[in-house]
Amino acid sequence: MEALNFSLLTSILTITLRAGTSLLYATIGEIYAERSGILNLGVEGMMMVGAVAAFAVGYHTGSLVLALITALIAGALMASIHAFLSISLRANQVVSGLTLTLFGTGLASFLGQRLGPGGSRLVGLVGPSLERLPVPVLSQLPIVGSSFFNQDVLTYGLYALVPLAWWYLYRTRPGLYMRSVGENPQTSDAMGIRVGANRYFYTVVGGALAGLGGAHLSLAYTKGWTENITGGRGWIAVALVIFAMWDPLRAVIGAALFGGINAVQFRMQAAGTTIPAALLNMLPYIATIVVLVIITWWETLRKRIGAPAALGVPYAREEKG
């Protein structure tokens, strides 16, 4: 009995990590963009394009390294559209981000139907995928061994990215600049910090990370390209940013929670539960709303709003804030 519980726990932990990986990349990326003051609602679209680009390149070249690099570039290019519109042209960030999602979804679907061999579809093709690489010794540990130390490269990458992202944000000078242009662009500008350049940089970095999150979906999680592969994960990432109160470490808790819901739902379906699949599939979305309500309510109670003060506000030097 004990052994059975261990294996159940291990499997839930494993699925949690696998399902949470793409979310966490996208969330950390969006935290950086939002910290610099740019709200990018295009995460879903950037992930989608990252996913299709990574799979197509992986399929044709057979190189996973090239696939991951392409995903980074694809996400960054998508984000640079939003950056150009919202920073240089001061367009409405909500609408621009939404358009990026619509555009990215359409573009990914278009490419997915053209990038197969000889201009055919990518759906159903099998390409190289990110396999699990057990870490010697550590993967032999009970429970944590086979869940934490028997994952793919991108999940391992998070073990380094998360602390690094936190350290960069809170303990380095560029991180301080990032936060200051998001909180008070006027003062930052007066101090000689380049508001526009900073915002451009972190928006594009955010897009690159979202693209990488998408790559995890098509290269490791579903191992292939399917229409609507992200299934709203980009939007959950946007919600997780608020959940995490713009802090990369807290984002881990959020991603784990949502990955965990996926895992539990997966286990329940595997166990042949009588609850209709549709209702189980609703869980992550309902949980997002519930969590968002609790967080917002708690934040208002504490009278401490964690959002960067200038989030979503275009900065124009000649206009008083």
Partner: protein
């Protein structure tokens, strides 16, 4: 030399027309590049798209079929956007409207007199859409919960719920296992004008007229605009903002719900896959391109519907992905968004040495390449 943005004193009418026109040209060029890369002659493809969307009365009917839900959801979204409430939940509100109308058509057709079925479906569908919109509205109005996320999550929940209903409890017992409800009885059909174009068009026209009047000529419309444009001022003059959010969103959700009613009773005449095909998201583009003007919504919805129908046509005729229509929509909105800057600002090239002296404060200076 530097390029300087200067705020315009008044927005010229020419710019207002020029920006959408140039955006359209940009989108067509971008689409042409994609078509060329796919090995298709863009002129042939565009001609086929245009002919497929507006070529004859059958084509126009199909364009209207897609335009009607875009008009209704576009109007709904425009109301919410007026007060900067980012309702991106039109898709879910549409789904709930369709679900409620299906319930009426399937279960009330034998109980109520025949003439009352369509009105009952319309009313209940609007109510369902409004209630679905009320949840994020209440959360935003009283708890300040970010509505972008909640409205979107509600979409996924609604779509899953609808799919559950026609896969499970409401599935046609004589449908040979095909997921979908039974065909509605004839009393529950929304009348058609010709071909598949249906009476939903009148709903859209009436809704646009009423909205235009309400926004331009009534106190409520004025308050709505003030709340959106300047919430601080709105609070000072005693506008109850939570109440404004709630009423605007109920109205917005009701219109989106109506779109769903028209889809199931006017087009599909049963509930099956294909109710939620993204009208609610395209509605955002419709609302924004029309600058939230109700009559503009009707026009833009018709044109974008043409783009969608044309996209379907080239898919069938040339084997091109229908996603082309979606890509063109995105390519159309990006330059529109960017172009709005040029409606508000004027570009001027200034010499470096005089620039600081003349415009020390009111210039946003950028290094020119």
């Amino acid at each position: 030399m530097r390029i300087v943005f200067e705020k315009r004193q008044n927005v010229s009418r020419i710019i207002r027309v020029l920006v959408p026109a140039l955006s359209l040209i940009f989108a067509l060029i971008f689409g042409a590049i994609l078509l060329l890369l796919s090995g298709v002659d863009p002129f042939t493809a565009y001609a086929a798209m245009f002919k497929g969307a507006f070529g004859d009365s059958h084509a126009v009917a199909e364009t209207l079929v897609k335009a009607i839900p875009l008009m209704l959801t576009g109007l709904g979204v425009a109301i919410a956007f007026r007060m900067l409430f980012w309702n991106i939940g039109a898709e879910g509100q549409l789904a709930m409207g369709g679900l409620a109308a299906t319930g009426v058509a399937l279960y009330a057709s034998d109980l109520l007199p025949g003439w009352s079925i369509v009105p009952a479906a319309v009313l209940l569908g609007m109510l369902a859409g409004a209630l679905w919109a009320a949840i994020p509205a209440l959360l935003r109005a009283y708890l300040q919960v970010n509505e972008t996320i909640t409205t979107l999550m509600m979409n996924y929940i609604a779509i899953l719920l609808v799919s559950h209903m026609y896969h499970g409890p409401w599935r046609d017992p004589e449908g040979y296992g095909f997921p979908g409800t039974a065909r509605f009885p004839e009393v529950a059909w929304l009348p058609r004008l010709y071909d598949r174009a249906h009476a939903g068009l009148f709903f859209a026209l009436i809704a646009a007229g009423v909205l235009w009047f309400v926004l331009q000529r009534t106190k409520w419309g004025f308050e709505l605009r003030i709340t959106g444009e300047n919430p601080k001022a709105a609070r000072y003059i005693g506008i109850n903002i939570p109440k404004q959010i709630l009423t605007a969103m109920l109205l917005s959700g009701a219109l989106c719900g109506l779109a769903g009613v028209c889809e199931v009773t006017g087009v599909m005449r049963r509930l099956q896959q294909g109710l939620t095909v993204g009208y609610g998201y395209t509605a955002i583009i419709v609302a924004w391109m029309s600058q939230l003007n109700p009559w503009g919504v009707l026009l833009v919805a018709f044109l974008l519907a043409g783009l969608l129908v044309g996209g379907d046509q080239i898919q069938m005729a040339m084997g091109l992905p229908a996603a082309m229509g979606l890509v063109l929509q995105g390519a159309l909105l990006f330059p529109m968004l960017g172009g709005s800057l040029f409606a508000e600002y004027r570009l001027r090239v200034v010499r470096a040495e005089t620039q600081e002296a003349i415009l020390p404060q009111q210039s946003l200076a950028k290094e020119s390449e």
